[in-house]
Symmetry: C7
Subunit: 252 residues, 7 copies
């Protein structure tokens, strides 16, 4: 009977409080985030690193089509974990907000400002009926007036600022790895290495260049750039993280 | 009681998260896709092949009326699997988006752009209440600046890019057949053969020309063309895939 | 408990997917079609025949008031099976679409075009909440540029093109009879005979002229005409299908 | 459990299909019709007769306030059976449609046209959510270009044309009485007698003039007229149908 | 289980048909009428009498604040029984309709016309979702062209015309008393006496002037007037209906 | 099972009739009124007294922030009992209606007029879906053309006029106390004393000036004034109602 | 069964009355407040102190990103406890109201005025359907014409004014500590000390400067200022409240 009642409790499509003050639909949306492969963010004085696990489910699927890191504005990148189609909606929303800011104020949007516009949007879907919450978490990284910033949005619509953070599958292990290995004086390159190490730490077979996306926003250039497959391969090789690819997909 | 609760869980008409972070209505819509006959897409350097199993349920039904492959724009074809009436809605949507793009920008729409407009449309039906998700998957194939592209849309609204893919019934067997036989240097003709082989691989009686639709978009012409029954028959015959038609429907 | 759950599953008034990917409200609407008396369509090179079983429930009911075949445009007739009041709505919709086409393009609407506008309309009632699906199937027959066309619309909003088809009660037996007796070179008169034979094949007492409607659209005239009672009686008599009317209703 | 499930099935307020293709709310609305006292329609070559059983529930109630026969237009009368307040809505709708027709086309509305506008209105209440079906059946009688016409509308929104028909309580017995006694060459007076006989056939105590309304539309005058109490009394007396009124209500 | 199902059946907030064709919410609203104290209407050739039982629940409550008889227009009074706040809504509606009639046509509204506008308004609340029916019955009395008229509206939206009628608590006993004692040639004063007798007939302790409201519309003046406490006391005293007031509320 | 059914009966959020004609949501809202501390109204020939129990739940809470008596217009005060936030909505509504009246007619609103506008507003929340009833009762006191008036509004939207009344907790005991001690010739000061006595009658520890609000509208000035703490203390002391404050909150 | 019924009672998404007059969704929202870390407000003659416990969940999370105290206007600060994303909505609402007041009246908004605008906004979410209540409590502190004011808003939309108050976790213990230690003649510095002592009173490990936010609005400057980490550390050290930070997060 417990099971039935619980199931009835979540199938109404509206997010309301349980007797102990919890919002179950939001908590279930957090489970949807955990079902997604991980994304990692690392903030260093030299810039922000975003890295995403995108191990392909089939050798015939184009690795580039599994998008986990997106450019939101020249100086902002966004990584996601969770429901892919939901992520696309929020990233489109973030891009529109970035454009609106440039049009209205003639300057790039602030990282915190953008994050809060996104989280306000997310919150609405947890309070007003007729829709479900977004089943996705985002990492919003960027550089604002030379200062690197790294934010997380969760399905409740709460913004968090981080030095280094993991979202999605294996968050517990990843976050422990980050806490142990993070230091405040990392170079951007060391940040990339920490992110790749963290992703690989929960994958015995190592990481292939096709199985990960890496983007950075350096404090100097204030520009979001994605690493090429070759660059990623170099980092993986140099740090002994590279997967042995013998039984991999056909080469293009 | 379990059964009742489960049944109640899906009959609300709004797509929400289960305690483990899943969207059941979307997963049930994926089942609707599996109930449809298969469509296959194969991308070769020379162009994209779309092929669809459309075995008729009655000898008196016009084979041409079971539409599974549609022209969306001069350079784009779409194949579907799943709920036929839903497919028609999405294909109409795709056609309108293609026209709007030509009107607004004076140029043909990109394959990825179109795919993402379609998947955003699909996603809305999974988050906002008052409607059910679309019970159909699409293969969107086309050529953009000389480059063949092949995308899949699923009922969650996620876009995937593929080298070769099967949707609908027998996806498991078909995809295995594709993975075993695909190579990156197929000619367009070999792509057609691979697609027809894959469809026939799960059909002991072979394939009749009336029971399959084949369309291609060649990298050179950038034009969607459907193969005639005779052309299909030649391919089937040459590859020993042709059904023995003795007890077939009356000829026209 | 099973029964209760099932009953709850269908009494929500919104069409959603079941765990195995089915749309129960649409399938129940198909049952409503089966509860209606049969309509038959036969396409011949010389034109399309529509015939409908309309056996009256009472000798005092005007046989003409049980409308099962309707003129949609000069060159298009529509027969229905299922919920009569729903059929009227769809036929009104078809007539309006026909008129709009003439006004907008100055020419008669195509048979396939009209069919698809009708099925798109039907599909909307299966996806968006706040209404039930239409409980009726239609046969849309007509001649377009000299070519006879015969389409079926079902409650899911799927269009099918047929050479010969039966909708409503006894579809199984009727369709078997059609498949056995249809040939591609029927004359229009032979088409009428085949349709009347098919209807009578499941009625031991024969068919009375009042109990059936017949309409044709000949390829030559491209005009929908309904057969008079006398004409129908001749066909029935000539083919030994005429009911013995001794205990029939009072003559007018 | 069956009872509970059934009760849950009908208390949703939206009309949807059951697994066997039935619309329960419409069938329950038909029960509401059966709960109403009977109305009878008889069509003769000389005109249409409408008669309604309106036995009063209290001697202090004004018999004229139990309206069961209404003038819809000069040439059209409407009798009802079932939910009285619903009947008033439909009759108001019919009157407005009649007026609109006169304004728009400068001529009286056709009987069939009016009937179909009413049934289309009724059908809407069975398909679109947010309201219940109309719990009433109507008899619409009139004369059009000298031809008497008699239609029935039922709660599903289906129009039927009749020579003679009964709606409401005792429909089975009444219809059997009509079928036995109707002939196509009745005079209008014989039609009135048949209607009064039919009503009285299920009432052992006979009929009082206050307990019945009679209206006619003669083919010659094309005008709806209601019979006076005296005229009704004459008919009842002449046909030995008059109730013995000894313990009746106080005279005015 | 029966109890639960029944309770579920009425707590949906929309008025729909039960399997036997009944509208339970309307029937429950009729129960709300029975819970209210009685109102009596008596029509005489000299005018209409409205009387209402308004026994106060507390000696400190102002008897005038328990309004049960209201002036709707110069020539129309309305008495109510049932849910007081609902009555106020309908009476406001009636007043607005009266004013609109004077503005639009320059003449006082007819009693039957007003009644039917009110009952149409009531009916809407029984058919369209999103609201509950009105839990009140009204007696609408007035004089039209010198003729006294007395109508009842019930929660289904059905209008009834009466010579004399009781609504609310004890309707059965009151109506029996009216039927026994009513005659068509009552004077207006005798009508007042009959109304007061009827109310007192179910109250052993007699009636106090504060416990009843009486209003009349005389055929001559065509004006609604309310009787003063002194006038009521005279009538009560003369007819031996006066309550012995020893333990009554403090005098003002 | 009874418990479950009952709970289901009230958790629908729409106010409908139960089988015995009751509106449970309105009755539950009356329970919310009883959960609030009491407010007392006393009407004397010299003016109206409103008094409210506002015992603070914490010594650090500002007693002035527990508002129970409000000025609605110069000549009108309103006291409340029940859900505080709901009371604020109704009082805002009353203030707006007062202002509108002054703007539209250039004169202060009547007490009865205002009360009925408030109760009509309350009634709407009990009939139309999408909101719950107001969980608050109001006492509306004022002077109109020199005459003191005192009204109560309850959650059903019914207005009552009183000589003296209590709403909220202990209504039974308070009302009995009022009935025993009220007389029609109280002075305004005696009215204040009666109100304070009534509140203290159910509080063994006496009343502190901070624990009660008192407002008056004198017939002479026609102005709403609130008594100061010192004035209240004098009344309490003179009537031996003052709480012994030794262990009271810190003085400001 | 009790459990199931209870769970069903709260999962409807609309706030309605229970049989004992309670609004469960509001009470559950109060539980959400208790799940949040505490915020403390202390009013002194020299100004208002707001302090918030913001112990970080991870050493890598930026302490500044856990915002619990916000500037609403120059002279107003707001602290929150409960659902963080909801708090952001209300604080945005408060800021907009502050700006509107300055634009419309050219002067800063009053503290009570702002509080009541916020609580009216909160109340709407508890009465009208389609949304859940806000799961957050606010402390609104400010100085108005030299007078310090401190208000609390709760999820029901009730405003309370306080001398000193705690919201969120440990409210019981905190409020007891405040009641014991508060006096009306605190200096602003003593107010800061009392707030920090109260927060630390339920935390054995002491408080770190990063784990608490403190803001003040002094009566003299009428300006909201946030204390720096160094200032907070001085207060903590001076009052022996400082956490021993040996195993703390890496320094920036």
């Amino acid at each position: 009977m417990q099971g039935q009642a619980q199931q009835q409790a979540y199938d109404r499509g509206i997010t309301i409080f349980s007797p102990d003050g919890r919002l179950y639909q939001v908590e279930y949306a957090r489970e949807a985030v955990k079902r997604g492969t991980a994304s990692i963010g690392v903030r260093t004085p030299e810039g922000v690193v975003l890295a995403a696990d995108k191990r392909s489910r089939s050798p015939l699927m184009e690795p580039t089509s599994v998008e986990k890191i997106h450019k939101s504005d020249d100086h902002i990148g966004i990584a996601s974990a969770g429901h892919v189609a939901d992520a696309r909606q929020l990233i489109d929303f973030a891009r529109r907000q970035s454009q609106v800011n440039r049009l209205r104020y003639g300057e790039p949007i602030g990282i915190e400002t953008l994050t809060k516009e996104v989280t306000d949007h997310i919150q609405q879907y947890t309070q007003v009926g007729g829709a479900r919450p977004f089943g996705v978490a985002l990492l919003i990284g960027g550089v604002e007036n030379g200062t690197p910033r790294l934010y997380e949005t969760d399905p409740s619509g709460t913004p968090y600022e981080w030095k280094a953070v993991s979202i999605g599958a294996d968050r517990g292990d990843h976050q422990a790895h980050l806490e142990e290995n993070y230091s405040d004086d990392l170079t951007l390159e060391e940040g990339i290495e920490l992110a790749l190490e963290t992703i690989t730490s929960t994958n015995d077979e190592g990481t292939s260049p096709d199985g990960v996306d890496v983007g950075t926003i350096s404090a100097e250039s204030e520009e979001f750039v994605e690493l090429s497959n070759d660059e990623i391969e170099s980092y993986l090789e140099a740090n002994d993280l590279l997967a042995t690819e013998e039984d991999e997909e056909p080469e293009e």
